[in-house]
């Protein structure tokens, strides 16, 4: 095995025992990037020089005995996390040359833990999309099948981890943007509880839904990264001062005696039969581990997508009002006055999907329509959350497919926005309710495409997700495969 194929915990062991160095690990990852990046285009920007310099410093620290959680571990960052002195584009023309003057809290925490950053990963523009096809910098391809999308919006992070073009990556999840690409690329992805991880320095899309989380090669690595990034941040007023447990303590506890809810609304017609078979197998595995699986109901599931596509664009239209061409970002040349500068800069700076959502959001918030759309959606959102509250009275964890289908073909859904939105149908409810969720690989289609199973639980109970996901992963006996690139 090459170093770039290993997990964080395997590399930690090799570093501690002196079997390898940070420089060797980082060089191995960049050799892989050089070999596969042309084919998959997971990154918008590679920070090779800085990474090698950081690796050098890491090796110096290791020699002095200062070995931290992520010392020498190459991590990729979705390009909407602010990195001091390193371009942060949000995959948009409007921010194509934006150099943040500060680090996001998550970046700071990873840096303090010793991580080495490989670069900034590709994504749908402003995280609006399910396929990484709306990036101003071009599409990312799925390492398992280059004719297919990697999922989105954090498609670059998922593809980079799946292709071993980094050891782990960070993404963000507003309606499934970590879990959906994780499922479609065959890696582990977690969306923590809203408020668990600081959003300071995350370029905002929909502020009541956005949450940062990890992409990893296994559940243990997910626990390791959560230990680093979770926690209260005084600079972020929605981050919650709740105690953060040591997630690694939950890896080997088992799930004997647990009750797992299977929501009937998530096992419906229209799901790909191979996805259905793989998820049913996962249910059998979980039952075999001593959990009781019961049917539950989340009656407002059918309304999640409609609620989401009112709430998220409404918040986005407000958040994206700041891009006006005045203080930073793209400014269109030759404008006739201030208003014209705003309109020209925004119209040329944003892509079609972002404009569609700004339009939708502006419309549902506009005078005369607010009550019919935004207020109504916020009320139904309360009922969606109530569904989950009631379900968690009866079960510890909920199990669902992460996505209705495996990765679809490039271009298949770009002309039909509503059809594209439906690929997030099983992940959106989590964000509306603010609860945490994790996607874990649960098999492959006959054509060799990865499938994911999703576990959900109550607010701030990520430890339960780690516990069931790790137990499942260990006992599922899935064939170990890597994409052939």
């Amino acid at each position: 095995m090459e170093l770039n194929q290993l997990t964080i915990h395997e590399l930690q062991e090799k570093i501690r025992s002196g079997k390898t160095t940070a420089t060797e690990i980082v060089q191995s990852v960049f050799r892989r990037i050089d070999a596969v990046e042309k084919a998959i285009h997971a990154y918008i920007l590679l920070t090779r020089e800085a990474a090698l310099a950081e690796a050098d410093r890491a090796d110096e620290a290791i020699r002095k005995g200062d070995i931290r959680t992520l010392t020498g571990i190459p991590v990729a960052l979705k390009d909407l996390l602010c990195t001091r002195g390193v371009t942060t584009t949000c995959a948009s023309r409007i921010l194509h040359d934006f150099v943040p003057p500060y680090d996001a809290t998550v970046v700071e925490k990873l840096r303090d833990a010793g991580a080495v950053f490989t670069g900034k990963t590709n994504m749908d523009e402003f995280a609006m999309g399910s396929s990484t096809e709306t990036s101003w910098f071009g599409i990312t391809r799925n390492p398992w099948d280059l004719e297919r999308i990697p999922g989105g919006s954090s498609g670059g992070s998922a593809a980079a981890v799946a292709a071993d073009a980094c050891i782990a990556a960070i993404g963000s999840d507003t309606g499934g943007s970590i879990r959906q690409p994780a499922a479609l690329c065959g890696v582990v992805g977690m969306k923590p509880t809203y408020g668990r991880v600081s959003r300071y320095g995350l370029v905002a899309f929909a502020s009541s839904l956005d949450q940062i989380g990890p992409f990893t090669k296994d559940v243990e690595d997910c626990a390791i990264l959560m230990n680093v990034i979770a926690g209260y941040d005084p600079r972020e007023s929605t981050s919650v001062p709740a105690e953060v447990p040591d997630y690694r303590q939950y890896l080997a506890r088992g799930i004997d005696g647990w009750t797992v809810g299977i929501p009937k609304e998530y096992f419906i017609e229209g799901i790909d039969p191979e996805v259905m078979t793989a998820v049913r197998k996962a249910i059998a595995v979980v039952e075999g581990l001593g959990a009781r699986c019961i049917e539950i109901s989340l009656p407002h599931t059918a309304y999640c997508l409609a609620v989401y596509y009112i709430v998220a664009p409404a918040e986005a239209s407000s958040n994206l009002a700041r891009y006006d061409g005045a203080k930073y970002g793209f400014r269109a040349p030759d404008s006739r006055g201030l208003l014209d500068m705003y309109k020209k800069s925004r119209s040329a700076g944003f892509g079609a999907e972002v404009k569609r959502r700004i339009m939708l959001g502006t419309y549902v918030l506009s005078s005369g329509y607010y009550d019919a759309y935004y207020k109504k959606a916020s009320q139904v959102r309360a009922l969606i959350k109530r569904d989950f509250d009631e379900a968690f009275q009866r079960c510890d964890v909920i199990l669902t497919p992460t996505t209705p289908t495996p990765a679809f073909r490039i271009g298949e859904k770009t002309d039909d926005p509503l059809h594209m939105y439906l690929s997030d149908i099983f992940t959106i409810s989590t964000n509306l309710a603010g609860i945490p969720g994790i996607s874990v690989p649960c098999g492959f289609t006959q054509g060799g495409l990865p499938i994911g199973v999703q576990f959900l639980t109550g607010h701030f109970e990520e430890a339960k997700l780690i516990q069931i996901a790790a137990t499942y992963e260990k006992n599922a006996n899935l064939e170990k495969r890597r994409p052939t690139l």
Binding site: G195, A326, K327, S347, M359, Y363, Y373, S378, Q379, G434
Partner: protein, 95 residues
């Protein structure tokens, strides 16, 4: 029709966006499809349900009113498309 082309043009102005005729036509039809889909929410009885505005209920987050370092002028102006001296430069606002 939930939304007509002249309304799309009005909303575009509110959002500080502008479209060609062809783009406005396309957006009108796409927005119509999306808004029609959202009509399903009218089937839900929400009488007396308070709107949910936060994913995790929180009170106001207060902090001590202490002075902390801020970015400073140079860093603030560093990303400006057009800066002169200590200012952001924009097209003439007042005739």
């Amino acid at each position: 029709m939930k939304i007509k082309k002249d309304e799309v043009t009005h909303v575009a102005h509110l959002a500080r966006l502008e479209f060609t005729e062809a783009e406005a036509e396309k957006f009108t039809s796409q927005l119509n499809n999306i808004l029609l889909y959202m009509e399903m929410l009218n089937r839900v009885d929400t009488t007396g349900v308070p709107p949910m505005t936060h994913a995790v209920a929180q009170q106001n987050a207060f902090r001590e009113d202490n002075v902390t370092p801020s970015l400073g002028r140079d860093l603030t102006l560093a990303n400006a498309p057009d800066a002169r001296g200590d200012f952001f430069r924009v097209p003439k606002v007042i005739e």
